[in-house]
């Protein structure tokens, strides 16, 4: 299978979704400019032109309402936000209206909008360009929330979102944009609401989301020489959450570490931990550990950023703790020299 970068997979999924359904259109800041939202909308614009891919004012609330109103008339709008933090300005439309629509009008009509947004991380993104809102949107019945980690799912979940009847929030991660992986050329859907066991293991389950999935896989590799066999579960969808896959994994391994891209408190990690407590308590052989952002807004300065975000070593240390071993056994992870160049 050929290899694509995460952003290329998004771009391809979008184009194939637009080919499949002429009612799909794309609106957002910069979707038709020379950067094309980090390359994800450029091909769609080249293929379908300004009638179906167009820029909008920075007016998140109205633009989301606009998408809802078009969707109610049969369209399938994709609203693109280069940074997820701007979604706070769209929450009335997304939570108070789109999420409620089908229920409070009891199926009289539906508003299948797709809201794409990108979570920033690193390079001093700071407090208001780095937040990941899965627990916010995942809290409300009526929305679907997906968080692709691998390129194939970035494409597959895009295609799924464009076929869902529900309003779907796609939380992409900027730190994943240059990562590569096999992606089928055919428009293969990743079903919404399904997690994936990316690496089977016997000793401890790491349930991870988005960019933390890659950290979890790296942690599993770090722990291999130490004889700790980690199972990595990629949640892929925050809502609906694939509880069966998660619970089955926890029951198999008896240990659970949850690694999220947001704060643990009231977060996706808390939800997964609660799930284990409710449905796998008897199987647990160690306390559940939640891992996420440090409990402060995102700092800018590099040494602060490094301790703000958990990484594979943090995950590996917690995995070791669940089997009663000390983190000191881990060799320090070399700081990876990123090929990334600013300004972002």
């Amino acid at each position: 299978m050929r290899t694509l970068k995460y952003w290329q997979a998004i771009a391809e999924g979008l184009v194939q979704g637009m080919e499949r359904d002429p009612d799909v259109f794309v609106m957002g800041i910069g979707v038709d400019d020379h950067k094309g939202v980090f390359g994800t909308t450029g091909e769609a614009f080249a293929r379908f032109g300004p009638a179906r891919v167009f820029d909008v004012p920075i007016a998140e609330q109205a633009m989301t309402g606009l998408a809802i109103g078009a969707a109610a008339m049969g369209k399938r709008p994709v609203v693109v936000h280069p940074r997820t933090d701007f979604l706070f300005l769209a929450t009335d439309q997304m939570i108070n209206l789109a999420a409620k629509w089908r229920y409070m009008y009891q199926g009289a009509s539906e508003v299948p909008i797709v809201v794409r947004s990108i979570v920033g991380k690193g390079w001093g993104q700071g407090a208001t360009h780095s937040q990941s809102l899965q627990s916010l949107f995942g809290h409300f019945p009526g929305l679907q929330v997906v968080m692709p980690a691998l390129p194939r799912d970035a494409k597959g979940l895009m295609l799924a979102a464009l076929q869902s009847r529900a309003p779907v929030v796609i939380l992409e991660h900027r730190a994943l944009y240059e990562t590569e992986g096999p992606v089928p050329e055919a428009p293969e859907v990743t079903p919404i609401g399904t997690a994936a066991v990316l690496r089977p293991g016997r000793d401890v389950t790491v349930v991870a989301a988005s960019a933390m999935v890659l950290e979890a896989l790296a942690a599993a590799r770090q722990l291999e020489p130490l004889g700790v066999d980690v199972e990595v579960v990629d949640v892929r969808s925050a809502r609906p959450l694939d509880t069966e896959t998660i619970v089955a994994s926890v029951i198999r391994t008896g240990r659970l570490v949850v690694a999220d891209t947001s704060w643990p408190t009231y977060g996706l990690a808390a939800e997964v931990a609660a799930l284990a407590a409710e449905r796998a308590m008897g199987a647990l052989r160690a306390p559940v550990k939640r891992l996420g952002l440090a409990d402060c807004p995102a700092p800018v300065s590099l040494p602060l950023e490094r301790v703000f975000y958990p990484d594979s070593t943090t995950i590996a240390a917690e995995c070791l703790a669940t089997v009663g071993r000390a983190a000191a056994e881990l060799s320090a992870r070399p700081v990876e020299e990123s090929s990334f160049r600013g300004p972002y």
Partner: protein
């Protein structure tokens, strides 16, 4: 420029429920009588609902439209069945004027499975998609951009349909109103903004919320949107203004705004007179009641020789019968099954 009317489908909106008693039989006279009939019908329905509301069996916060009916009726008379409308919390009149099913409204207020939203929406979340009443919602200005979005869809499809958003002077205080106007104007979308200015946002008069000397319709003009302020208690004036605006929308010239000055007779939410509460005076209400849209229309049509007292009596009887039937059915309609609690969640 003349507009190309959208094809009519389904039942006609105005007064087609029953044969109308004849006065003058010209099409224009017939149309004017239908307009009056609709106005009277909305009034009588709202009066009855407000009365029944006091039995404490409609467990849903209801914002009655009494006093403001001419806006809904006048605007909807300028629309086709394919045009769509959106509304806010005070939405009964809009729903009814667009042709929304009366039984569906009554049953919705009683929380029954036969309600227009099957008892899940309540008074502020009405829908009757079959007649183009798409949605209403309780958050101010929330459906303003949604109507603009529907207009965008119409334009993309080169469809002659028009979207209308009804909102109040309170909604104009929301930022999303301006975001929506901006985009509608920029893209020349077929959307009619109808501001039902009843001078109060809940209990706050407009003069404590908006700068003296400013006018809502002028704000639309600042975006290049043609706008006018009219007497919202004159159903014929509303109709004429809406018709011009809708023609403009339909012919691709872009959005328009109509600010309709009107007044709410009952309390903000609930069925009672609240002039003893101190935020507005009995005298103010009485002055507006002298401009009762139903009486104003009757006087105008009477003077034209189009409407006679016997015709009004026959209208009253028809309407009373329709309401009685809807209420009886609504009260006896089945409750939703608790096993269906989660239906229609994704």
């Amino acid at each position: 420029m003349t507009s190309k009317p959208a094809p009519r489908r389904g039942r006609k909106r105005l007064g087609s429920r029953r044969r109308q008693p004849a006065g003058s039989t010209s099409p224009k006279s017939e149309f004017l009588r239908r307009l009056y009939y609709e106005l009277l019908r909305v009034r009588r329905i709202e009066e009855k609902l407000a009365l029944l509301y006091q039995e404490q069996e409609m467990r849903t916060p209801a914002h009655f439209s009494i006093g403001q009916e001419a806006v809904a009726v006048g605007v909807c008379a300028a629309l086709t069945a394919q045009d769509v409308i959106y509304s806010g919390h005070r939405c009964h009149a809009h729903y009814l004027a667009k042709g929304g099913n009366l039984g569906g409204l009554v049953a919705e207020l009683y929380g029954r499975e036969t309600g227009c939203a099957r008892g899940r929406g309540g008074s502020v979340h009405l829908t009757d998609i079959s007649v183009g009443m798409v949605a209403s919602s309780a958050i101010l200005a929330q459906t303003v951009p949604v109507a603009v979005g529907s207009a965008l869809a119409f334009k993309m499809d080169a469809s002659p349909r028009v979207a209308v958003t009804f909102f109040g002077d309170g909604a104009v205080d929301e930022g999303v109103f301006y975001e929506s106007l901006n985009w509608a104007a920029l893209k020349r979308l077929p959307v009619l903004f109808v501001c039902e200015n009843n001078l109060y946002a809940t209990h706050a008069p407009i003069w404590v919320r908006q700068p003296k000397g400013t006018e809502i319709y002028r704000r639309a003009q600042a975006f290049g949107v043609p706008a006018e302020k009219i007497d919202g208690n004159d159903v014929f004036a509303v109709y004429q203004s809406a018709r011009r605006a809708v023609e403009r929308c339909r012919s691709g010239q872009g959005p328009a705004l109509v600010e309709c000055l009107t007044y709410r007779w009952l309390e903000h939410v609930g069925p009672l007179d609240d002039t003893d509460r101190g935020y507005r005076s009995r005298r103010e209400l009485d002055a507006w009641k002298r401009r009762d849209p139903v009486k104003v229309a009757a006087r105008q049509l009477g003077a034209l020789g189009v409407l006679t007292p016997p015709a009004i009596q026959e209208f009253e009887a028809q309407i009373a019968e329709e309401i009685a039937k809807a209420v009886a059915e609504g009260k006896q309609a089945p409750w939703p099954d608790p096993r269906d609690l989660l239906r229609h969640v994704y």
